[in-house]
Structure formats: C-alpha cells, structure tokens
Amino acid sequence: MDAIETQLAELKSQIDALKAGAPENKLAMVVFSGDMDKVLAAFVIATGAVAMGMDVVMFFTFWGTPVLRDKNKSVGGKDMMGQMFGAMLPKGPDQVKLSKMNMGGMGTAMMKSLMKKKNVSSLEEMLALAEELGVRIFVCEMSMDLMGFKHEEMIKYKHLGFAGVATFLQEAQTSKVQLFI
C-alpha cells in the first residue's frame, strides 16, 4: 500500500513538473526588420493571434527598434553617433519604407495609398489595435543603446517595456509559437 502511495506522489510531482514546462497558448515574436512590409506582417500575425485567443509578446530589436520611435518627440544630450543614427533612421511607424520597390519613397507612398484603397490597415492603425488588444511589446535595450535611442523618445504604448535577450527567451520557452521577422 505504501509503495503505491509513494508511486502516486511521484507521479503527481512529475505531472506538476510537466505542467510547469508545458508551453502556454502564447506567441513570441522577434521583430528584427525595420521594413514597412515586414513589420506590417508582424502586426497582422500578432493581432490575428490575439483573435485566436493567444497571448502575444513582441520583441523589437535592431532595425525594428526605430519603428517604435515617436516622431513628435526629440531628446537632446546625444553623442555624435547617436545624433547621426537618430537622423538617418526612421522616426516611427509612419516613416518606415518598403523592403522592395521603395523607389526613393515613391513605391512606399504608392503602397500606402493602395492599402488605404483596399482597406488594409496602416502600421499606425495596427499599432493602435495591438495596444487595444493587449499585445505586449519589449524593445531591445542593447539596440537602443547601440543606436543612441533614449526611452523618452519612444512611442507611448500601454504595454511597452525594455528588456534583453533573456526576457525574450523566457517568453519564447513558454510559447507555443515563436517567430523571427
């Protein structure tokens, strides 16, 4: 009898361990790209995932970082490289360009008007929708530092945080789906 009870207890603890390690109904996404088309795809997937009942967490890193800058905010106190990156990289979702057929901005402008005509949401609209749906966004602290961006110049977004790779991996490990865009 005792043996059965010990076995049961052992099984129970094993099940608990399995449960703790089981992935949640969650999507963890890295947004590495700063191209309009790719970031748009990332947001379509993110908001679609919420509709499917998933938790969604996005990690913006490298070229994805400037997409989350606020075009109406400017901060001083940057060094020369920081100023240069600040000036050369897009400032917010409105300024990002297509990965193909940009044609000096003409292609991007055409795509934007086409999207409007076809009722496809713009990047700004997708960002607002993601915020409303509770999509969490983390910005890579290392990219921020590398490009000389400051926290104060990023967009206002309810579920915004700053983090490193360990935060992403911890989220990814407990997610059913992981994507790199």
Partner: protein
C-alpha cells in the same frame, strides 16, 4: 432555412481586410451569451478558410456558411 437560426447579433465586416475580420469577430462573439449565434458578413476571400480556422482554435462553432456573390455569411455559435 436561415430563419431557423436565431441570431443574437449581426456583424458587418464587409470591406475589411485581413486581419480585421477575425479580430472583429473574436470581439463580437464575446458580446453574446454562450449558446447564442453571431451572424458575420464578410467580403474578404480569405475568410472562407480563416473563419473555420479561427472557430476551431477559439473553440466556437460555425453552424452555417452562406456564400453569396462576394459576401459570405457565417453563423457562429458561441461555445466558450
């Protein structure tokens, strides 16, 4: 046939592009009680495969699909 189905809420999703139809239907279904039916109208061709996928994943049930010209009507029963 369709008057056998008692609809609690009608969602007009015509003209909306991906991912809006599923985003809106996932919100809309929460506005009716479990067991009630939402009727969603969409003109997004992707919805024909997307709505069943959404329903399966979210645990709801499409009780009827009515495809007319360019508009598809889904009758979705809230199960969860």
């Amino acid at each position: 046939m369709s008057d056998e189905i008692k609809v609690a809420k009608v969602l007009d999703l015509k003209g909306l592009a991906c991912p809006m139809p599923v985003v809106k239907v996932s919100k809309g279904i929460k506005e009716v009680a479990i067991g009630e039916i939402v009727e969603a109208h969409t003109s997004d061709p992707g919805a024909l495969t997307d709505f069943p996928a959404w329903a399966k994943t979210s645990g709801n049930e499409i009780v009827k699909t009515d495809q007319q010209d360019k508009v598809v009507k889904f009758y979705i029963k809230r199960k969860v």
